[in-house]
């Protein structure tokens, strides 16, 4: 590994965003816009930060920021199957204090829907590329709405217009401008704003490779740069023109050199200008940041006059918001809310349910057909074990990969919801596992019935029920295995390989491919803790133990098992009964889930987008 290079992303940036204003951060790509927002919102995971971010004169901590600010990310991470109201309701139930009555929560959701002009689509599904739903602009509004639920006084937005067409983008900014007029502080990054958007922005800052080249009212920008000797040509969007001016042109060496010089001069000019010095307004009250207060105070003493009164009021507001935010619902409520959402989303995704049912039926019919018309002679003994083994492993094998993938796809929103402290991962996983059981049982039902009838297994109630129970248990254990793999491993590929390696180790030691008696003694414990072996054995006990085989045609009568019990003995499946098998399956479930819990506690669930 080569030693990591340090890279200074932001350089001595000072600015103030005021309430009632729509402030934009502009700059070419790589100028540090998003990083600046991340720092303000306490969402940086790596890197050293020096300097201070003050919120109404208090140095902000993550808890304070979470309680009074909303951070809207660039991409909409919404669940396609929920309606607008459901999406907002879900967040409201988790984010609003538990002292709120459900009526009040509903009212808050309605307020937000009305404020963003989403009334006409309140009961429309969000949708995505495959499901018809909201338009891009409406989706962006819902993303913003999620963060409006706690009535934040500060809203941070990363590129709210990216990927939207010009009308929609203009409309979103108009909405934001209205929100700002109601007394909120809105800070957004924006890339290449069009002129109509530019004209709605109150104040703006241009960043160039991490340092400020302009910060001030939007309508003074052209004059400012003109005074520096860079007038904006006619019929050219001033934003485009000045952002280009402040960006390094990489297309040739001399251009790069030249643009660097210009940027340097712009930066120097700005540091010296009135815009920069007049805006440093900061003071600090809390004890823990006394030092930083002194630092700021020493830098700009004039800013600290007569604002003390207002400050205490501001502080009180902040504290109240903070207190309210600590009062969020507990684990049980979280679990319940997530469970309801999970059931809602899963049951709405009926194409997926249907395809899984068809999948189960296909597997089932395939297996049943292969083992149709089983005889009771010596040659068929292996086939009897074959059907027991194959019914145990066929379905789980397909389920494991699918579920690992699904878990990794869910990280797409899980990661961000966890980062927004919406709920605890433990509540999420329990809700997820429990929520799946009803669907799981339906699939197993469709898997068992054709298989059982086509292959012509024992047609009594006890055997049929046991068959269903054992298969459900073993598939459920496989699901736990998949969830464990997904929780432990960083990417889907690795998790898939990991789950498959475990599964093939289990497969080989389950007693069908290799005889349990010939497994070397040092590794026989592997088959004792193997849940597939136990479900294989349980099925064999239920279905094969009572069979009688016809040994008359046998070439070597001595090795022909005439009873099911002898056959079981030949396969090394004679020690242990159904109780032991149940313990084996249950033990595996407990172990897998315990590891899963440990995994999600300590391993961050970063989504893997590619």
């Amino acid at each position: 590994m080569e030693p990591g290079r340090t890279n200074q992303i932001l350089k001595n940036v000072t600015f103030t965003a005021r309430s009632g204003q729509l402030m934009a951060i502009m700059g070419g790509s790589g100028s540090g816009k998003t990083s600046l927002l991340d720092v303000v919102a306490c969402r940086t995971t790596t890197g050293d930060i020096t300097g201070h971010v003050l919120l109404n004169s208090v140095s902000r901590t993550k808890a304070i920021i979470d309680s009074c600010a909303g951070y809207v990310r660039q991409d909409d991470r919404l669940i396609a199957h929920l309606t607008v109201r459901e999406t907002l309701m879900f967040v409201a139930q988790l984010k609003l204090p538990k002292s709120f009555s459900s009526q009040r929560v509903c009212d808050r959701v309605d307020e937000v829907i009305a404020e963003l002009g989403l009334k006409h689509v309140a009961n429309t599904k969000v949708g995505d590329a495959n499901i018809r739903g909201l338009s891009g602009g409406e989706r962006r509004r819902v993303s913003i709405g999620i963060h409006l639920l706690i009535l934040p006084s500060v809203i941070l937005l990363d590129e709210p217009t990216s990927g939207l067409d010009s009308f929609t983008a203009t409309n979103i900014i108009r909405t934001l401008s209205l929100l700002a007029k109601k007394g909120r502080t809105i800070l957004m990054s924006i890339h290449q704003p069009r002129f109509d958007i530019f004209s709605m922005i109150d104040s703006l800052m241009i960043l160039s490779s991490g340092s400020v080249v302009y910060d001030g009212p939007a309508n003074q920008m052209v004059d400012y740069f003109t005074s520096l000797g860079f007038p904006c040509p006619e019929h050219t969007n001033p934003c485009d023109f000045y952002i280009d001016l402040a960006t390094v042109d990489p297309t040739s060496r001399e251009r790069e050199q030249k643009s660097r010089e210009i940027i340097h001069s712009l930066h120097d000019a700005f540091s010296a200008s009135a815009h920069a010095s007049a805006e440093v307004v900061s003071f600090v009250d809390s004890d823990e940041v006394q030092k930083s207060m002194d630092l700021v105070r020493s830098r700009s003493p004039l800013a600290f006059e007569d604002n003390d009164k207002a400050c205490t009021k501001d502080l009180r507001d902040l504290l109240r918001a903070y207190e309210m935010q600590r009062d969020t619902p507990g684990y049980f409520k979280q679990f319940f809310v997530i469970l309801v959402r999970f059931l809602r989303v899963s049951s709405d995704d009926y194409p997926s349910i249907l395809s899984k049912v068809i999948h189960a039926l296909l597997m089932s019919v395939l297996l049943g057909t292969i083992y149709v018309d089983l005889k009771l002679d010596e040659q068929s003994v292996r086939d009897w074990f074959g059907i027991m083994f194959m019914s145990t492993v066929m379905y789980p094998y397909m389920v494991i990969l699918g579920l690992t993938k699904q878990c990794h796809e869910e990280r797409r929103f899980l990661y961000f919801e966890l980062q927004d402290k919406l709920y605890s991962p433990v509540a999420y996983y329990f809700a997820r596992i429990l929520g799946e059981i009803p669907f799981h049982l339906v699939y197993i039902f469709f898997y068992c019935i054709p298989l059982y009838t086509i292959a012509g297994l024992k047609m009594d109630m006890y055997s049929m029920t046991m068959f269903f129970v054992v298969i459900s248990a073993s598939v459920f254990t496989s699901r736990c295995l998949a969830i464990m793999a997904a929780a432990l491993m960083p990417t889907f590929q690795i998790a898939g390989v990991f789950a498959q390696i475990i599964f093939s180790l289990l497969l080989m030691s389950a007693g069908f491919f290799l005889n349990l008696d010939s497994i070397i003694p040092e590794l026989s414990w592997m088959s004792d803790i193997n849940y597939i072996r136990w479900s294989f054995q349980a099925l064999s006990i239920v279905e094969i133990k009572d069979l009688r085989f016809d040994c008359n045609a046998s070439l070597v009568p001595a090795v022909c098992p005439s009873t099911g019990e002898q056959a079981l003995a030949q396969y090394g499946l004679d020690d242990g009964n159904l109780g032991v098998a149940a313990a084996g399956l249950g033990g595996s479930v407990v172990v897998f889930l315990a590891i899963t819990l440990i995994g999600i506690k300590f391993i961050p669930q970063k989504p893997q987008d590619d």
Binding site: S166, L374, G386, A558
Partner: protein
């Protein structure tokens, strides 16, 4: 007025006159055009009467063109002298006036209407039951572009930009009414293939190759086979210089994982690939999307140079042109909802729109202002009605404007006489000219090898992944015993042996093939080579790796587990695993051809392999007791034959230890007789069958690729 005069052009001039521009369409300054046409008609023989400041380059173009192309304006091929003279004859006899009147070669679009069948969802959402909606993407569009200029089509998404490029390049899939013609010949796909290159929006390049390698391989596959290596190198070098790629010529292109050249450079490579053939027309779909402003500007100025200095017709579609880009373009067309709202030089745009009542505010980009002005806002019904009526009004205003009148007048002269080019000789000459099949095949093969060689982890996977499976198989038992349980162990191991080969091949294919498939889609779109050539090259490419990896696997497994210690049976064991891997490889490839989603293709292939093994191998269900119908199904499974070879070799003459069961003891022959009767007689037949199957798999893969058409690449 201009119309009348133009008929006065002397008809049998020397071929040189073909290139003299008397086309008044360049004079879009509406008030002066008539006047200039008067003069222009006589003066333009010296190509100097243009109102715009393009005199000098017109001259350049004139000389360039005549020296390079000679008298072949009317014909599609510029390859050989014999052909050329033949075509001149044809010209003189039948189409004289066109040959003479048309000077600067021009691409005309005449009253083009393009209708597609819009489908509103997948077939499973009941789409088959609903009647398909017909949607007019382009409505009666007429425009005209000239060689030596860079033209841009601007419009919001859904305005028909890409559809227009599709129609021009001959890729339209819907119903096309109206005529697209180049140099007065109706454009056909074959003709456009020769004269035009279409640069699609996505860069599908192999990340492991360097820029120069990418271009060189493409040159080998694109350029005439008679060119020597040196000439090809020179051509490639020229393209590298023209596209400004000299500083990265020997860097790898890179992708998501490996860092390589920048996005702008990738776009340049994609364009460079299309320039190798030296096309007359270059069509680009959104070449600047995804690039930052400098890179975009730099790219457009390169394209402008190509048009002006290389005398090409460059036509780009662009979503949002910033003012700096906008001003470098010679002519801009604004499309809205499939209709033309403006076509003319950018400098005329503000005056024109101001004259019809829409001035442009001072600090705004006219291109943004006027695309917004003409586009339809569909968010609310009232807005839609309002904006669409405005758009309609503007389009109508344009219809009657002088700008358009000039263009139409100029075109109507010959609108009756489009030649329908006989494209059969175009294609045949193209084929005669192209590189030989062997050259393409070797080039593809070498490129695949180089690609894999550079992807070290994939290469290691290819070689060792199969053998990596052995420890899992033998972990629990070490060596097979010779007691009764040993029968079960052997059958389990042989089942795994038959199955792992195809599976490992599948995982390798999933890792390696999708990138190749992407490049294949792009290149076969360009008509470089056929599906069969590509897949045969892949077959040959994969075979040595399957031989090596399966041999490793077999050696490891066979001797550690302790199968029959006999070199001949071991050799057969190796051969069977190699053939099974190759079979699996080609079937997996075939599935990737039919199913676009890699995951879904992988799952279906795995399911197919399972099913084949269930029915065929007899290791999961014994064949002897299977109902007859199922047995018949088993006959089509390759696993039946490979298992027979393996089981027969292993169990034949095998003796079991019967110490604990004295007296009666089964032998391997007994086992064979009861479960696989007669296998030892059929070894040769079985080998022929499985060998045939793996070659047949190649054919199946080709058919599967053909069954699913090449996707449209956007």
């Amino acid at each position: 007025m201009a119309q009348n005069k133009e008929y006065l052009v002397p008809r049998s001039h020397s071929p040189l006159l073909n290139h003299i521009n008397i086309n008044p369409i360049a004079d879009t300054s509406s008030t002066r055009s008539d006047q200039e046409n008067d003069l222009g008609f006589y003066q333009k023989a010296s190509a100097s009467a243009h109102g715009m400041s393009t005199d000098s380059r017109q001259n350049d173009g004139f000389q360039d063109d005549s020296s390079r192309n000679g008298p072949m304006d009317c014909v599609s091929s510029q390859s050989t002298a014999i052909e050329a003279s033949g075509n001149v004859d044809k010209c003189n006899q039948h189409q004289q006036d066109e040959c003479n009147n048309y000077t600067k070669p021009r691409l005309d679009v005449n009253n083009l209407t393009y209708t597609i069948r819009a489908t509103s969802g997948h077939w499973w959402s009941g789409n088959l039951l609903r009647p398909a909606r017909r949607k007019q993407v382009l409505k009666n569009v007429s425009m005209s572009f000239k060689r030596g200029e860079i033209n841009a089509i601007v419009g919001t998404s859904g305005s028909g930009k890409t559809s227009l490029l599709d129609v021009i390049s001959g890729r339209a899939e819907g119903q096309v009414d109206g005529v697209v013609s180049y140099k007065h010949e109706q454009c056909t796909r074959a003709m456009m293939r020769q004269k035009a290159s279409y640069v699609i929006q996505a860069d599908r390049l192999l990340p492991t190759l360097t820029v120069r390698e990418t271009l060189t391989y493409m040159a080998f596959m694109k350029l005439p086979g008679k060119l020597s290596f040196k000439e090809i190198d020179q051509k490639v070098q020229k393209v590298i210089i023209v596209m400004g790629l000299l500083h990265v010529a020997d860097s790898r292109i890179g992708g998501a994982v490996i860092r390589g050249v920048s996005g702008g450079e990738k776009r340049r490579i994609t364009i460079g690939v299309q320039l190798l053939k030296d096309p007359e027309i270059l069509l680009l779909d959104e070449p600047t999307s995804g690039l930052d402003s400098f890179t975009a500007r730099h790219l457009v100025s390169t394209l402008r140079n190509l048009a002006h200095e290389g005398d090409k017709l460059v036509l780009i579609s662009i979503h949002q042109a910033r003012s700096d880009i906008f001003n470098t373009i010679d002519r801009v067309a604004i499309l809205t909802d499939g209709q033309l709202a403006y076509l003319g030089p950018p400098s005329q745009m503000v005056p024109y729109f101001t004259s019809i009542g829409y001035p442009c505010p001072k600090h705004q980009n006219p291109c943004d202002v006027y695309t917004d002005l003409t586009s339809v806002d569909r968010r609310t019904l009232s807005r839609e009605a309002e904006t669409s009526s405005r758009a309609k009004e503007i389009c109508e205003a344009y219809e009657t404007s002088e700008l358009r009148q000039n263009m139409i007048e100029n075109k109507n002269i010959h609108s009756s006489a489009y030649r329908y080019h006989d494209n059969s000789d175009a294609t045949s000459s193209a084929q005669a000219d192209g590189p030989s099949w062997l050259r393409i095949f070797l080039c593809l093969l070498e490129r695949m090898n180089v690609h894999l060689w550079r992807e070290r982890t994939r290469l290691l996977g290819r070689i060792f992944q199969h053998a990596f499976f052995v420890p899992f198989m033998i972990l629990y038992i070490g060596r097979v015993d010779n007691d009764m349980g040993g029968i079960q162990d052997r059958m389990g191991l042989l089942y795994q042996t038959v199955q792992t080969g195809p599976y490992i091949a599948l995982t390798n294919v999933v890792a390696i093939f999708p990138v190749l498939r992407e490049t294949f889609y792009r290149e076969t779109h360009d008509g470089l080579y056929s599906t069969a050539t590509f897949l045969t090259a892949y077959f040959v490419h994969a075979l040595p790796f399957n031989i090596i990896s399966s041999t490793l696997f077999s050696t490891f497994l066979y001797w550690v587990v302790g199968f029959k210690a006999d070199l001949l049976t071991f050799g057969m064991f190796v051969l069977v695993t190699v053939i099974m891997a190759q079979f699996g490889e080609m079937i997996s490839v075939g599935f990737l051809g039919v199913i676009r989603s890699v995951q879904l293709a992988c799952d279906s292939t795995a399911l197919l392999f399972n099913t084949l093994a269930f029915f065929g191998s007899g290791l999961i269900r014994s064949l002897a007791t299977m109902p007859l119908v199922l047995k018949r199904i088993g006959y089509i499974c390759i696993q039946k034959y490979s298992t027979e070879i393996l089981v027969g070799n292993e169990f034949h003459n095998l003796q079991f230890d019967c110490d604990n069961e004295p007296g009666v003891c089964a032998t391997g022959n007994d086992f064979l007789a009861s479960r696989y009767p007669g296998v030892m007689e059929h070894v040769t037949r079985n080998f022929i069958i499985i060998g045939g199957y793996s070659v047949l798999a190649l054919g199946v893969a080709i058919v599967m690729f053909k069954a699913r058409k090449i996707p449209t690449l956007y």
